[in-house]
Amino acid sequence: MNHALTRAELLRRAALGGVVISVPGLLAACGGDDDGGGGGAGTTTAELADTLRFSNWQLYIDRDPNDKTKSPSLEQFTAQTGVKVNYVEDVNDNATYFGKIQGPLSQGRGIDRDIIVMTDNSRFPALLISREWVEPLDKGRIPNIANLIEAQQSPPFDPDRTYSIPWVSGITGIATNLQASGGEVVTTMQQLLEDTKLKGKVTLLTEVADTMTPIMLENGDDPSKVTDDSWKRAYDRVKKAVDAGQIRRFTGNDYVADLERGNIAAAVSWSGDVATGLAANKDLRWNLPEKGSDIWTDNMFIPLEGSVPTASEYMNFVLDPKIAAMLAVGIGYISPVKGVKDEAVKLDPESANNPLIFPDDDILSNVHQFDSDALNNETYTQQWQTLLGA
């Protein structure tokens, strides 16, 4: 143990030294005078693992514009704690990822990860907790939990935030590739599902909440209270579109590649992806559907056998408003942390005015949460899966 401590300390100092030389600006912005983040790290480094193993979605971490393989926020975490980060973008959609990890977890074994990220508009966060497949957080290491905005303090699946810390929230909308759509911007689900000009050039998301919420809103139904009738109305529209060959694929995050290269003209899409990850392509547009859509939050969990101290330390790190601002601006999603806007103004004033990152009342009144009972409805799940072609 003693030996490990010295080694970790050494690493930490070496890394800190490196940052001072290479990224002085960053350090000035959020390093030395940091009072919240990394507070307890110095005294308890011994319990931290050498490496944080982190599974996340695509286009979901800030990237150094000059070297896309580097992430300033992750490098800063390493500098502050001496913990390297093995950041793996292997979550494409909730169901597939859950399928992949449930085997070992169901046998009480770990999955070689310390943090995984799953969405509250799927049935999986509740499932992970009820099956006891996730470790409770070490709250002692997460003083920054006080920074959570009120709306994020007590989600239904984890009322006391015993197991989860929110990563970011996002809004589902419609992305258009103007080159492939013939210059037309798609703003309604009706265009997406029924406009024959888009036939075969449309993708929907495999996530039931993301695809069904905007359709139900267009049907005049309430997505937060799904009934058999409202479900059927929305389901029938999707089924009709699939049978007509309107829908090219149901996707997870993998819609971005087809959208970028113009294989698809329009996609049900997550708000930040087009704004940041695909910003280089000037033909792309992102719109909130006219009748509204859904809002969701991705949450970090510590799967069985994950290093609780290390993961908790990282969660505390990203709850620091300065880091949270780097992330929000870097990936274009809504931060769950108080005071982020003030920090974002310093980083990038333009992003600070982006209503998708800092949504105004206009947008907030137009987005809804999908009915969590419907997510667990066996019949709906079956029907939905059959629709996806499986």
């Binding site: 695509q58 286009l59 896309k68 393989t69 494409n92 993998d254 280089a280």
Partner: protein, 286 residues
């Protein structure tokens, strides 16, 4: 050919259409074959070409600019190096294991008359007649029921399982035409079974074993489906590609694929050359 050409002018000249038709007929097969070869090579050419591309964004599918960077920094993409190493390890170990087991089975099938040859042949044939997805799914079911954690060992087990049959078939095909007199001569000269096997049999069937091993290696390093089911949190190179394909396949993936292709082609060429030299030598001494 030349005689035909010389005699042609002597006859009344056929119409141009007829001559064109004759030309087409004569070369139709060759032209068709060349087209078919182009079709076979096209995706490979695309893969290799784009290993030298310098894409403007993270997406590597429009040609931008020639660069060698992807080759010199082939492991710059996180995870790719580990996946290649894992694929090589699995391919090496499972090929050695499967080649050993398969060769023994092939020897038994060709050399010995015993009851149960039929079922043995069937057992060897069936894995090849079973879709990969069923092989993968059933193995995963076994591991789940036994509560055995999927990972390196389970990938190894799976690969040995599906390579064995190919080894048996390949070695068996070569053994059938094998001359036993040499072995009998060695035994007559007082060599025991083991010495005979090592000094006579093994060198004679070595090319067959080598071919089988090459085939096994190629199958192992290429396998996606069965590995996908049984890999746990391990990532072989094909699994890495699958993950990368979800968003953007970096040019480094093309580099590794091209390198595997070139190395395999080199190994095959050497094998062909080696075998044809042996063939000539064998004919020379006969």
């Amino acid at each position: 050919m030349t005689t035909a050409a010389e005699t042609l002018p002597a006859r009344p000249r056929p119409s141009i259409a007829a001559r064109v038709w004759a030309f087409v007929r004569r070369h139709l097969l060759a032209a068709y074959s060349v087209l078919a070869l182009v079709y076979l090579m096209l995706p490979i050419a695309v893969v290799i070409l784009f290993s030298f591309n310098q894409p403007a964004t993270q997406f590597n599918y429009t040609w931008q600019q020639f660069t060698l960077d992807n080759w010199t920094s082939w492991d710059a993409v996180p995870g790719i190096r580990d996946s290649v190493i894992l694929s090589l390890e699995i391919a090496f170990l499972s090929t050695i294991m499967a080649t050993a087991l398969g060769t023994l089975v092939a020897l038994a099938l060709v050399r010995h008359r015993f009851r149960g040859r039929g079922p043995t042949n069937l057992l060897v044939f069936l894995p090849m007649a079973t879709p990969e997805i069923v092989l993968g799914a059933s193995l995963l079911t076994l591991f789940l029921q036994m509560r055995y954690p999927t990972g390196f060992t389970t990938i190894f087990i799976a690969h040995v399982m599906f390579i064995i049959s190919y080894v048996v078939v390949t070695v068996k095909a070569r053994l059938v035409g094998f001359d036993r007199h040499l072995e009998e001569a060695a035994m007559d000269l007082g060599a025991n079974e083991w010495t005979t096997f090592v000094k006579v049999t093994l060198p004679l069937i070595a090319p067959a074993i080598l071919s089988a091993a090459l085939l096994g290696f190629a199958i192992s390093i290429d396998d996606f489906v069965i590995t996908y089911f049984n890999a746990g949190s391990e990532t072989t190179f094909p699994l890495f590609v699958w993950g990368a394909a979800r968003v953007a396949v970096p040019p480094q993936v093309n580099v590794v694929a091209s390198a595997i292709f070139i190395l395999a082609l080199a190994a095959m060429t050497l094998n062909v050359l080696f075998q044809s030299r042996r063939g000539r030598q064998a004919k020379g001494t006969a």
